[in-house]
Symmetry: C3
Subunit: 214 residues, 3 copies
């Protein structure tokens, strides 16, 4: 039978694969070679969790002892190019966006939960959730020389913040990890799905003065 822990682990693996794929896509667009592809896939998939573990003082970072993360990334890179040909571009994009929403929800919950488990205060736990969820994508965009997408666009990190707050609140209330994680994940995932469906955006602050029309 699938226990809740198995369920979260399965989502974690799926998130790793999906995040790696988003690295592969950008590497292709920039015409990187096989190694660049591997690097972008890796930093996207495990970059956020790496910074989280470093900052929390957990050592070594998770993927040094749990080497199946690296194996998963290498296999994803090897299969990504041939498999991408079986599906149309539109279908690949749709699948990735929706799998990404699930991965984001899982990564955020894992990050916030890990921070709470080492005794970090609530605001730090929310920050660690966000860092785990979006940190890898930010490093990927820096390496690809783009202004990180997540800083400019969409209700993406906001979904992480909301999920982190719910998780921290449920954890403070019940004292248990599992309901907190499931609550946090559900929150992030539903906000992200709604943002995808109705094209939600946050206000930007560059356009404060109405006469600025850049």
């Amino acid at each position: 039978m699938l226990t809740p822990d198995d369920f979260i682990r399965a989502l974690d693996w799926m998130g790793t694969v999906v995040f790696a794929l988003s690295g592969v896509l950008i590497a292709r667009r920039l015409q990187m070679d096989g190694f660049g592809l591997l690097v972008l896939a890796s930093v996207t998939a495990i970059g956020g969790g790496t910074i989280r573990d470093l900052v929390l003082g957990i050592r070594p970072v998770f993927w040094v002892t749990q080497s199946h993360y690296l194996v998963l990334i290498v296999v994803t890179c090897a299969l990504a190019i041939p498999l991408a040909r079986l599906l149309s571009r539109a279908k690949v994009a749709w699948l990735l966006l929706h799998a990404d929403a699930l991965g984001l929800a899982t990564f955020t919950a894992i990050g916030a939960n890990k921070a709470l488990s080492v005794g970090a205060p609530a605001i730090v736990a929310v920050g660690m959730g966000v860092l785990t969820g979006v940190g890898g994508g930010v490093i990927r965009d820096v390496l690809a020389r783009e202004v990180p997408m997540v800083l400019c666009r969409e209700v993406y990190a906001t979904a992480c913040i909301a999920g982190g707050i719910v998780l921290t609140a449920v954890h403070a209330w019940t004292g248990q990890s599992l309901p907190a994680m499931l609550g946090g994940m559900l929150t992030t995932w539903l906000i992200r799905l709604a943002a995808l469906r109705w094209h939600w955006h946050l206000p930007t602050f560059g356009g404060l003065d109405p006469d600025e029309s850049r």
Copy 2:
């Protein structure tokens, strides 16, 4: 009564606010949303100290246990936009530059002092002072996709190096932290003020050959 420790702590908080504000300004210019603003403010304010703590092996990094740093940054972001309207742009720029000089002096002294307190050699202490002082700004500029300002411009990092050297020397001589910190801070601050007033620049090395006109 205000003890020297209180005084340094007050300057540290002011530095955190000022550095966060410089992140807010760049986020506005790039039309980032509210989350991007929060990220740029955070990396500018605590990025340098984070790398310092990681490299020195202090764990977890300072803002995980002292969560008032994150609170300070969030409050700064929330108040920055409305407050900015109360002052003219020129006044904001003047205030920021001069508060930044104080913040830089404080951060540099804190960084160098922390390195000495864990037994690092003098050259490493100077490096940690510089890293704490300018590291956050460098990460901010990388995320904003600019060549880090501090690498190309002005007697900024040089003021940190001088302050770090004075601090290390006074510390070696007296064996005490407080006079060393005050000496280092004063050095960084005065050099920075002088550089602002007389528009000092360091020579660059690209124009060495007069026949190179790139």
Copy 3:
């Protein structure tokens, strides 16, 4: 007499100098000031090893206790500009490329060996070899606002991967560090030399569809 350990240490120092020089060259091209030069030289020379030590949980990172690395970098920066005038540009470029091949081989072997010595699994050891070899150059390119060269170009990281695999295999087989390191270094170095001589390139994946002509 020169023991193998002395030999590896000498190559490590040479690699540090050469990597620092590659930072100096890019800083010159970008017309950075003296401080920018120092920063680019430092991140190129010790950036990869710093991330490696952080990820492996070795603290503090190597150059905090072994401060001769920083001294070596400062001296290299001080001497680089005057010495560069004694040689023609073509000779400097040739020397740098070939010294870089030796430095890369050494850094990769040191990184993979350090990972194995703290009990990391094989795939992590290979990754740490690559990270130590190319990580510094990637940070340098990010600061200089270029898409990291190594992600797009040449059989560079591939030489590290091959060297890391050979090192890990020999280590698993003999249980000894020294033959493993020498085997790994020789592999990286020879592949890199061959790539330089015959202009090897890896296939890129951007050009998969022949009708895409971006």
